[in-house]
C-alpha cells in the first residue's frame, strides 16, 4: 500500500467540522424557501450567535465591516468565542476587551498594545496563520472538501504554530501544505444591498464574502439598503450571495461605522483614532460602556454619534463609480 509521507505537522488546535457533518447541517438547517428574514440585530444575534461559537466576519475593520453586529454581540455579552481574525484592527480587540473571546486564529491582528498585552498575558490564545492561508481554508470549507493544498506557510514558524500539515505531494513529489477546511459556526457580513430573503451584493473588492458565507453554518448579514428582489434578477452577475446561504438580514445603515462603506460613507478617522489610542482596560471599559452597553441598539448608537458627523462622512464619499 502506498502512503503519503507526512513531513511536518503544525501544532495549533483547529476548529474543524467533517465535510459530511457540514453537508448534513446544510441539508437540514439551511432553508431553500424564499422567506422573509428581516429582523433587528438583537434578534439576529440572539438566534444565531451562541456562546462558544467560531465566528468569522467580512470585510475589514475600516471598510464594509460588520461593526454594528460586533457591537450587538458585545452587548449580549456572548462568551468563549473563537474568532477568525483574517485581518482585524477593531473587531477582535473590542470583543476581547468585552471578554467575549477565548481564542483567535490570526491572519493580521492589528490595533497595537491593548490586544498585544492580552496575548502576552495569556488572556486570549492566538494561533498564527496568514491572511492567505485562512482565506484558502474558507475556500475549502465552501467547496465541501476536507482540506486544500497550497504553497504558503512552507518553511516558516507560522506553519509550526498553525494547524497546517506538510505532505509530499503525490503528483509533483514536492512538499505541499495542507490547510484544513474552515467551516465557522457563524459568519457576520456587511453588504451594500440585500433583499429581505438574503440575496445580497457587495460593491468593490469582495475579499471573502462568498466563501465565508458558503462555509459557515449560520450567516447574518447587515445591509446599508434593503432592495426589491428584482434588483438581483435584473443583473444576476452582480449577486454576491444567494438567499439560501443567509439566515438573517438586518437593515443597518452605517453598519460599518466607524469604518466606511463604499458608495455610502467614509470611515470616521477621529473615532478610529480614539479607539486605537485605547491602551489599558480602564479606557477600554469606558469606551464599551459609553458606546456599546449604555445604548440599546444601533439606532441609539448612531444618535450618539450624531447626524452632523454622519453627514460629514456621507459628504466625503464622493467617489461613486463602480459602486452602483
Amino acid at each position: 500500500m502506498d502512503f503519503i509521507e507526512i513531513i511536518e505537522r503544525g501544532e495549533a488546535e483547529i476548529h474543524y467540522i467533517h465535510p459530511d457533518d457540514f453537508r448534513e447541517y446544510v441539508r437540514d438547517k439551511k432553508n431553500r424557501e424564499m422567506k422573509d428574514k428581516l429582523m433587528d440585530e438583537r434578534e439576529a444575534v440572539k438566534k444565531f450567535v451562541s456562546n462558544g461559537d467560531y465566528l468569522a466576519y467580512d470585510f475589514s475593520s475600516l471598510t464594509r465591516g460588520p461593526q454594528s453586529l460586533i457591537r450587538e454581540i458585545i452587548r449580549q455579552r456572548k462568551k468563549n468565542l473563537w474568532v477568525c481574525a483574517k485581518f482585524t484592527l477593531l473587531e477582535t480587540v473590542l470583543l476581547s476587551g468585552a471578554g467575549c473571546v477565548d481564542k483567535i486564529d490570526v491572519g493580521f491582528l492589528g490595533f497595537g498594545p491593548y490586544i498585544a498585552r492580552k496575548v502576552q498575558n495569556g488572556e486570549v490564545k492566538v494561533y498564527d496563520w496568514s491572511n492567505g492561508s485562512i482565506t484558502y481554508r474558507l475556500v475549502a470549507g465552501a467547496m465541501g472538501i476536507p482540506f486544500i493544498a497550497a504553497r504558503n506557510l512552507l518553511g516558516t514558524d507560522t506553519l509550526k504554530h498553525s494547524g497546517a500539515v506538510v505532505v509530499r505531494c503525490p503528483f509533483s513529489n514536492t512538499p505541499t501544505a495542507l490547510m484544513p477546511a474552515l467551516n465557522p459556526d457563524v459568519a457576520i457580513i456587511h453588504v451594500q444591498e440585500a433583499d429581505i430573503y438574503g440575496n445580497a451584493r457587495v460593491y468593490g473588492p469582495t475579499v471573502a464574502t462568498l466563501e465565508t458565507a458558503m462555509a459557515s453554518k449560520k450567516v447574518i448579514i447587515s445591509a446599508e439598503r434593503i432592495v426589491e428582489t428584482i434588483e438581483f434578477r435584473k443583473n444576476p452577475l452582480m449577486t454576491t450571495l444567494p438567499y439560501y446561504l443567509v439566515d438573517a438580514v438586518v437593515h443597518a445603515p452605517f453598519g460599518a461605522y466607524p469604518g466606511g462603506t463604499q458608495g455610502y460613507y467614509e470611515m470616521d478617522s477621529e473615532h478610529y483614532l480614539m479607539l486605537t489610542s485605547i491602551a489599558d482596560d480602564n479606557a477600554m471599559q469606558k469606551y464599551l460602556e459609553e458606546y456599546v452597553y449604555s445604548v440599546d441598539n444601533h439606532e441609539e448608537f448612531l444618535a450618539k454619534i450624531g447626524m452632523d458627523k454622519l453627514k460629514q462622512l456621507i459628504r466625503k464619499a464622493e467617489i461613486l463609480e463602480g459602486y452602483r
Partner: protein
C-alpha cells in the same frame, strides 16, 4: 548644498527606483503603498498594483489616504476588483513580479519576522500583528523587496519567529521546503543601505550605502556581518523631484514619510 530627508523617504525612493515598468507588484499596507504610488508617478507609469483585498491595476489618487486600503480612494479605477483568494492565487500562479514588505527582524537569508519578539511563543515580549498577507507575498512573488529601518536589533542570526520565508530556513532551501523555484527575496532596503542576496550562498550582501556613510558604519549597525560586494555603490539621497512629489502631492500630511530619523546629506 544639502538635502534633508527622513529614513522613510530614503527607503521609499530607493524602493521605487528598483521597480520595472510593465510589471505587476503586490502592495502591502503603508510604506509599500507610497512606494508604488511614487514609482507610478515618476518611474514606472504602467506598473500594475495588486492589493490582497482584491484590487488589481487601480490608478492611484493623491493625497494618499491611509487606512481604508480597500476603500474608494485606494482602489480607484481598478482593472478588476476580486476576492482575496484570487489576489493571492494570481501571485501563487506566477503572475506577480514584485512584492514589497516591511519587517521587524530579518536574518542573513532574508527570513523575516512580523509576529513576535521573545523566545517563548506563548509569552511573547512583544507581539506584532502577525503575517497578514506577508507570508503569501514572500512565498509567491517572483522578487520580494524588504523595507526596514537600519537598526542593530533588527538584524539577527535567527529570527525569533520566521513569519515569512527567505532563501534558507534553518538550513533548508526554498525548493527543499516546497516553495516555488526561482522566487524569493530580491533586495533589502534599509535607512542606510541596500542589500541583495548572493547568487551562490543566498546570503545577504551589501551592495550600496547611503552617500556620506562608510561601509563600516553601516555594518556596525547590524547584528551580524553581511557579505560585502566588490563594488559597493553610493546610494543617492532622495532627489528634489522625488521629495516634492512625496511631500506636496502624495503624502502632504506626512502620515508615512515623516517617520524615522532625519538625515542631511551634502550634494
Amino acid at each position: 548644498m544639502g538635502v534633508e530627508f527622513t529614513d522613510t523617504e530614503f527607503m521609499i525612493c530607493n524602493a521605487a527606483r528598483l521597480l520595472e515598468d510593465y510589471k505587476t507588484i503586490f502592495v502591502g499596507w503603508g510604506i509599500p503603498q507610497v512606494v508604488a504610488i511614487l514609482a507610478e508617478k515618476l518611474y514606472t507609469p504602467n506598473i500594475v498594483q495588486v492589493f490582497e483585498f482584491g484590487s488589481v491595476g487601480h490608478q492611484s489618487r493623491t493625497p494618499f489616504l491611509r487606512g481604508t486600503m480597500g476603500g474608494p480612494t485606494n482602489t480607484y479605477r481598478a482593472i478588476q476588483w476580486c476576492s482575496m483568494n484570487l489576489a493571492f492565487s494570481y501571485a501563487a500562479a506566477g503572475y506577480i513580479d514584485y512584492g514589497v514588505l516591511g519587517a521587524a527582524q530579518i536574518d542573513r537569508y532574508g527570513n523575516i519576522n512580523s509576529t513576535m519578539i521573545g523566545d517563548d511563543y506563548n509569552k511573547p515580549k512583544v507581539r506584532f500583528p502577525g503575517s497578514g498577507g506577508g507570508n503569501e507575498v514572500a512565498s509567491f512573488c517572483w522578487k520580494t523587496i524588504f523595507v526596514m529601518a537600519h537598526e542593530k536589533r533588527r538584524f539577527v542570526e535567527r529570527c525569533d519567529f520566521i513569519t515569512s520565508p527567505g532563501h534558507k530556513m534553518d538550513g533548508k532551501t526554498r525548493e527543499e521546503v516546497g516553495l516555488a523555484r526561482n522566487s524569493g527575496p530580491y533586495r533589502l532596503i534599509t535607512s542606510k543601505a541596500m542589500f541583495d542576496f548572493d547568487e551562490e550562498t543566498k546570503e545577504l550582501r551589501l551592495i550600496g550605502v547611503l552617500k556620506g556613510l562608510t561601509i563600516e558604519e553601516v555594518i556596525d549597525d547590524m547584528g551580524f556581518e553581511p557579505l560585502v560586494a566588490d563594488d559597493v555603490v553610493e546610494l543617492e539621497p532622495p532627489t528634489q523631484e522625488e521629495l516634492k512629489l512625496l511631500r506636496e502631492d502624495i503624502d502632504p500630511y506626512g502620515l508615512i514619510i515623516s517617520k524615522g530619523a532625519k538625515f542631511k546629506v551634502e550634494i
